[in-house]
Structure formats: structure tokens, C-alpha cells
């Protein structure tokens, strides 16, 4: 009973959260980011946390969704849902190519190849004509079955739906044979194969599901932000942020990636938005013109990735199982 009660109350809370913050666009924006990172980290977690196949190129699937959807919608009056499905197809193709090249190999190779594929995708988007190159793509107008898409609220609920989908998929996999198989592959590939597991097939399935979920997240993000460029949606840094979110929360669990996003996204926002610097200056603790004040005002905005780096190192050295790993044994 308790097992169902907590998720349902959390879902109810999530449903009413926009009303609780009075539909404040700033907070809604942050919450959309939390949901987005949670859903990306959940998707990453399926091959990464369960099967132990760390992808360092998940931005490629996210970006494939965002780009495919926006390219199709700019100038073409098609249903955004179709454009979203097209994104899933593109991302799945990239996943299939990556998987078929590297899943025969093991260890370091998948990590390396996933970066290489993501870089090929990023550089291609950067250098091709129809993708808008370095300028990116701007979507001027968007309509969807009469919903007001100038408000952030529909996107909040859209992201929430995707997160529920990602978590539901994870829960379904975890409770089925596939979940056991993925974990066996993570623990020992040779033993897994000797017990009848087609290792390459299951790795490919996990990556495919993950790529599709990441792509849907990317499509919705593209529709929400309406302007994308390679630096924003295809960068290696995004891939690394996705991994960190999952790791810090706890890999190989349903709730770990969500917890990671709840912890990390607001932290990054706090650092990025100069709130700390402004507060310190307005309280008169540091002076606006002193080097320290300058650092808090200007430097700290760039420091969130530095903080991510420190958190990663601390996390790996002292709690490699993530925050959830400390409290849980399994499930």
C-alpha cells in the first residue's frame, strides 16, 4: 500500500504545483527544467544504470528529437505530434547504428563510441544547410489543437507526462525479464551470455527505448523553447549533465534520476542566476566593485559546471551508489 501511496501523492503534488506557485513563469520554467532533466536521466538510466552501458552521447538523441521536430514544423503545417514521432524515428536510427557498431565490444568502447557518434551528429548539424548551421532554428508560430502555447503551463504538463512515461517504462522493465537481464549484463557479460542472454540484443533494446524517450523529451523542449542551436541541444556538456543527474540520485533505480534532477537543476539555477551574488551585494556583505563581489556577480554564473565537477568527484569517491544508494538495498 505504502508503495503506491507515495508515488500517487507525489504525482498529485506535481499536478497542482503550478497553481501552488501561482502560475509564476519563472518557477514554472525551473520546474519544467527539473522535469526535463529527470526524464532525460531516467531514459539514460535504462541502458546506463540497469545494463551498465554508460552513454556519453545522449545529447544526440535529445537533439535529434528537437531538431527533427522543429525542422519539420518550420514552414510546414503538420501536426506537432507527427513531428514528434519523426524525431523518435531519427533518434532510433542513430541508436541502432551506434548499437550495432559497438555492442559486440565491451568496457570502454561503448563510452568512447557514444561520444564519437554524438560529435558526428553535432558537427553535421553545425555544417549542413537545412539544419540552420550555427544559427540554429527558430520556430515562429505554433498551434496545437487550440491550446495556448504562449503560456509555459501546457509544457509543464507535457514534460510531466513524459517523465511519468519514462518512469513507467523503467518500472515496467525493472519488473520484467528484461530488467533482470539488463542487470545480469551489467554484473558480468560472460556469465549473462552463458545463461542464455543475447547480450548485444538486450543492450540494443535498452538503448533504443532510451533514445526514443530522450527524443520525445527533446521534441517537447524544442516546441517549448522554439529556438535551438547545436550548442544548446547537442553539446557534450548536456550529455555529461544527464549522466551526473542520474549518478548523483542513484543509478539503477526508478527514483534516483528524479531525485538527482530535483537536487541539481535548482542548484544550477541558483548559481547561474546570480541570486547568490545579488543577495550578498544587496545585504552589504561584499562590495559591488571589489574583486570578490565581481567574482560573485560575474564568475559564479559560469561556476555551475565547476560545481558539477566537484560534486561528481566527491560522489564517485564517497558515495558511488548515489544518494538513493545510501538508503536502499534494492527496489
Amino acid at each position: 500500500m505504502k508503495k503506491i501511496l507515495i508515488p500517487i501523492s507525489l504525482l498529485l503534488l506535481a499536478l497542482f504545483l503550478p497553481e501552488l506557485v501561482g502560475r509564476n513563469p519563472y518557477f514554472t520554467g525551473i520546474m519544467i527544467n527539473v522535469l526535463m532533466m529527470a526524464s532525460l536521466a531516467s531514459a539514460w538510466n535504462i541502458p546506463g544504470g540497469y545494463a551498465g552501458q554508460f552513454s556519453f552521447g545522449h545529447a544526440a538523441y535529445f537533439g535529434a528529437g528537437a531538431y527533427t521536430t522543429l525542422i519539420l514544423l518550420s514552414g510546414n503545417p503538420i501536426d506537432p505530434l507527427l513531428a514528434l514521432l519523426a524525431g523518435v524515428v531519427t533518434a532510433s536510427l542513430i541508436a541502432l547504428i551506434t548499437g550495432s557498431i559497438v555492442f559486440r565490444l565491451r568496457g570502454h568502447y561503448f563510452a568512447l563510441a557514444s561520444i564519437a557518434v554524438a560529435e558526428i551528429v553535432r558537427l553535421s548539424v553545425l555544417n549542413l544547410q537545412f539544419t540552420g548551421g550555427a544559427q540554429g532554428i527558430l520556430l515562429s508560430d505554433l498551434t496545437f489543437h487550440g491550446i495556448d502555447l504562449n503560456s509555459k503551463i501546457p509544457f509543464y504538463y507535457g514534460m510531466l507526462m513524459i517523465l511519468v512515461l519514462s518512469m513507467g517504462t523503467t518500472a515496467y522493465i525493472q519488473s520484467s525479464r528484461m530488467g533482470y537481464y539488463l542487470q545480469a549484463i551489467r554484473e558480468d557479460q560472460d556469465a549473462a551470455a552463458s545463461l542464455g542472454i543475447n547480450v548485444a540484443l538486450y543492450k540494443n533494446r535498452a538503448l533504443l527505448v532510451s533514445a526514443a524517450l530522450s527524443s520525445v523529451t527533446g521534441s517537447l523542449y524544442g516546441l517549448y523553447i522554439r529556438f535551438i542551436d547545436p550548442g544548446a541541444v547537442l553539446d557534450l556538456r548536456l550529455s555529461i549533465e544527464i549522466i551526473l543527474t542520474a549518478i548523483i540520485g542513484g543509478v539503477g533505480t526508478i527514483w534516483g534520476p528524479v531525485l538527482g534532477a530535483i537536487l541539481l537543476v535548482p542548484l544550477a539555477e541558483l548559481l547561474r542566476s546570480n541570486v547568490i551574488g545579488d543577495t550578498l551585494i544587496s545585504m552589504g556583505i561584499v562590495s559591488d566593485v571589489s574583486p570578490v563581489g565581481h567574482f560573485f556577480k560575474e564568475g559564479l554564473a559560469h561556476a555551475h559546471v565547476l560545481v558539477y565537477g566537484v560534486i561528481t568527484v566527491v560522489c564517485i569517491l564517497f558515495m558511488p551508489q548515489g544518494v538513493l544508494g545510501i538508503t536502499r538495498r534494492r527496489k
Partner: protein, 289 residues
Amino acid sequence: MLIIQSLVSGLLTGGVYALAGIGMSLVFGVMNVSNFAHGDLMMLGMYLAYFAFTLLHIDPYLSLVLILPVSFLFGFLLEKLFVSRVIHHPHQNQILLTVGLGLIMSNSALLAFTSDPRILTTTYSSSSVMIFSDVSVSVPLLLSFLVTCAITALLYLFLARTRTGMALRATSQNREAAQLMGIDVSKMSAITFGIGTGLAAAAGALIAPVYYIHPMAGHNFLLKAFTVCVLGGLGSVPGATLGGLIIGVVEAFSATWISTDWKDVVVFMLFLAVLLFRPQGLFGKRGGE
């Protein structure tokens, strides 16, 4: 003549890639760790050369005398403080730890030096010499290549002739057996990571006079170094040497005949092709499968 021109400049740049790749391959061979901070260590080498030149007025090639020992020590300490703690962990943890260290380095550099690219201009930066009557060779690239050859030769001598070098190779062959033979493998790891760091920083310093110096430069070098290592066979020093030269030439050829924008794509395609057709690399031990 275009072919020879591309070949020459490709080989010269490839030498520096080889140096970076050897450092990474050595770390992989001895410690079985993929060092994702390798590119950022190169970036630090670039800044070291830049500041040695602008603040101390030391020629970038001479500054290696300072950069090599300093970066060796830095790498030695990094291993002792961080990497050694994950050496028996799954490789994902090792990758993430080095990713984290790399993020700290690149973003500290960003805070300290800002994102403005810097250019190291020496008196001979834009000069070139002619060989074969109509092939021009940039002087800084040529100097980089010669220094690279010297460092590589010293490294080979060190690995082949000294006790420590032989112990390193033994550890690379079989860590457990080396330990049974009385080799202090944890010390070997620290020395290896020191050498790897030294070589990365040296490669960074050598490429500094011909490249934009900025905090995120490491990212691109990291992928190049990986490609070099995988092409040569993870863990193989001669493989990385040859791999570096090949990548340099492939890059120069694709810049000439395809376009500069696509040269990195060609290199990464080559990387995937190697994984597909010869995952053990040119010189690698089998066992990637």
C-alpha cells in the same frame, strides 16, 4: 604538389597528436583507466606555455623544460589523491571521476582566464620554410614535430632501458604477475599517470603556438587522443605513435579535399570504422571483443 603539402603538414600535426595519444595509451595500458581529463590536461599545458611566454618571456619550446616536470608532479599527485582510489572500481566510475576532474580543470580555467581565446605569437609564428622547392612548412609546426620526436625517443629509451621503464611495461603486460614479481604497482600507476599528464601537457604546449588557447580546447583534443589510441590499439605505445601520424594525415587530407568543416567528422567516422572492423586496433592485444 598539393598531396605532398597536405601529407607534410598532416604528419607534423600528427606528431603532436601522437604525443597526446601515447600519454593516454600508457595510462590505459598500465592502469586500465580511460582518462577523460586528458584533453583538459593538454589545455592546461597550453596555458602554461602561454604564461611562461607572456609573463616569463620563455620561448614555448624551451618552456617544456619547466612544463614537463611540473605537469609530471601534478599528474603524480592527481593519481595519488584521486585516481588511485577508483583503480579497482568498474570502469564507469573511473571515467566519471576523470570527467569530473576535467570539468574542474576546464571550468577553473574559465573562471581564471575567461573564455576569450588567446594567441601565443612568437617572432617566428607565421614564418615558414620551403622544402622540395615548392612545399612550404610552417616553422612552429616543424619545431613542434622535432621536439615531439625527441620526447618520444626519450620515452622509448626510458621504457626499454631503465628499471622503472621495464617495470612499467611489466605492469602493463600483467598487473597481477608484476605485483607477484615484487613490483610496486601502485607506485607504477602514479608514475604512469605522471608521465601521461606530462605528455599531455607537453603536447598542449607544443600546439599552443599554432592553436587558439581557450579553456574548452581540451574537449576536441580528448576525442582526438581517443581516436589515436583506439586506432593504434588501446595500451600500445607504438600503436599510438603511428595512430597519431595517421590521424594527422587523414585530417589534413580531408581538410584539403573535403572541407575544413568536415575534417573532424571524417576522423570520428574513421574511429567508428576501426571499432567495426578492427576493434583491437593496429597493434592492440586482442580482448576488446
